[in-house]
Amino acid sequence: MKKIINNPENVVTEMLEGVVEAHPEYLKKLDGFHVLVRKDSPIKGKVALVSGGGSGHEPSHGGYVGTGMLNGAVAGEVFTSPTPDQVLEAIKAVDGGKGVLLVIKNYTGDVMNFEMAAEMAAMDNIKVEKVVVNDDVAVENSTYTAGRRGVAGTVFIHKIAGAAAEEGRDLSEVKKVAEKVIENVRSMGMSLDACIVPAAGKKGFILEADEVEIGLGIHGEPGVSKEKIKTADEHTEELMNKILEDIQIEKGEEVAVMVNGLGATPLMELYIVNRKVAEIMKAKEIKIANTFVGNFMTSLEMPGFSISILKLDDELKKLLNAKADTPAFKQF
């Protein structure tokens, strides 16, 4: 394992220290916790958003702490859900009296740990609501799975629900708009290789020189199937078909597109994928209103990408285009 790290056991702590050194104008770290919150926390009279999960998804989630997105981000160990006491601390630090919305990605561990924190916060008389993001169409949403996973589409929830909170909406309204985004966003990813969790020291799965992993989550775990590598256009078409099978989008409707790098994918390749996404949408006469290309929700140094499609209406469009100012997502 070749990595630019010190001790594998300290990667999360040291990373958070580096984040705070880099972005003191946006955020601060809660002493003794792996929690980043807005520098101006708590903000009185506004609903606060808290998200988080395992580390290794940077810039998620700390990179989205700032105006118009998250108020707090909780960082677990690498690819491991954070513990409830950490989440609770984030909730307490950001609550400005109007309540806190937890944005949880649907993984058994994330859901359980955030739920426990919500129960604890309720005992402290903090209003807490939660939404569970499950945008990954690779996984069947059936009784035979733990339900669809939450992946890169989560960033759209941060952005849009964050904008709604910034507008001064109530907790129930912010939750409602977050749920609307969840209903309308679908994602799917693929990868050319695995990544290495520092503490584990070896790859999560092994692929042949001509194989790719299709439909994988964001925790370095294997996907739903292995395939022979094809062209970027073919893989893009395959992912887009799965996504568009799952969500009805009519001619003339508008969407936002996110082509997300998993960590080691050159931006060049992401743009090549985006070219094909645009071509497919043009053929279907679906209008792309916003496109985001880059590393938004990564899996350490995984060489792969995911595509997320969010179906827009006027409300979502307005909130998506609202101002945001965070270390990793800025928009005028």
């Binding site: 690498v78 954070p82 513990t83 950490q86």
Partner: protein
């Protein structure tokens, strides 16, 4: 009969076995999950062992509650809340008791199952912790009702847990991260079921 002194020995031994088997559990989780179950559990039990030092002379409920809180606040992932809740419910199950006899241990097993099901909403056969814990509980109960000794009953429980782990190899996961693999999860033992088996073995060793 486990008094509060012995309970510390038991928990220390559980910690040792889990930490020893870090890589084993990790490799199992690499095959069908995200390769961190060993890291998570051994991080948790390293902290538990540390906490145990300050618990000499405390009652069983306090000890088990401390273990619960330590696991909840240091394991993370799916296993943290699950094992944490199991220990928390176990602490409640022995509330007021000076020591844990075989009947109390039966109620610990039952409380653990209840706690894990409350949190994780799984049933038997979904390739989880429950697939070694429920058979272990059933074997322990049967052995006691056959009027065998607590030690004998625990031996039966361990055997049942081992069989449970073997059984998990034959089934598809429908809960937890491994469920995303669909049929690809078949053929691999479940990490959580395995760590539960290790815990039961570690208890038996000290009795």
């Amino acid at each position: 009969m486990i008094d509060n002194k012995k309970l510390l020995d038991v928990l220390n031994n559980i910690g040792d076995r889990i930490i020893e088997n870090k890589m084993v559990l990790n490799d199992l989780d690499t095959a069908i999950g995200d390769g961190d179950h060993g890291i998570n559990m051994s991080r948790g039990f390293t902290n538990v062992k540390d906490k145990l030092k300050d618990l000499e002379g405390k009652d069983c409920t306090t000890i088990l509650n401390t273990v619960a809180m330590t696991l909840i606040s240091t394991v993370g992932g799916a296993s943290g809340p699950l094992y944490g809740t199991a220990f928390m419910k176990s602490a409640a199950a022995v509330k007021g008791m000076e020591s844990i006899d075989s009947k109390a241990f039966l109620s610990i097993l039952k409380a653990s199952i209840d706690g894990i099901q409350m949190r994780g909403k799984a049933v038997k056969g979904e390739k989880t912790i429950l697939d070694s814990l429920i058979p272990a509980y059933e074997a322990y109960e049967k052995s006691l009702s056959d009027e065998e000794s607590g030690t004998k009953a625990l031996e039966q429980a361990v055997i049942a847990a081992r069989d449970g782990v073997e059984y998990t190899k034959t089934i598809k996961a429908t809960k937890g991260r491994a469920s995303y693999l669909g049929d690809r999860s078949i053929g691999h033992a479940d990490p959580g079921a395995t760590s539960t088996k290790l815990i039961l073995e570690a208890i038996l060793e000290v009795l």
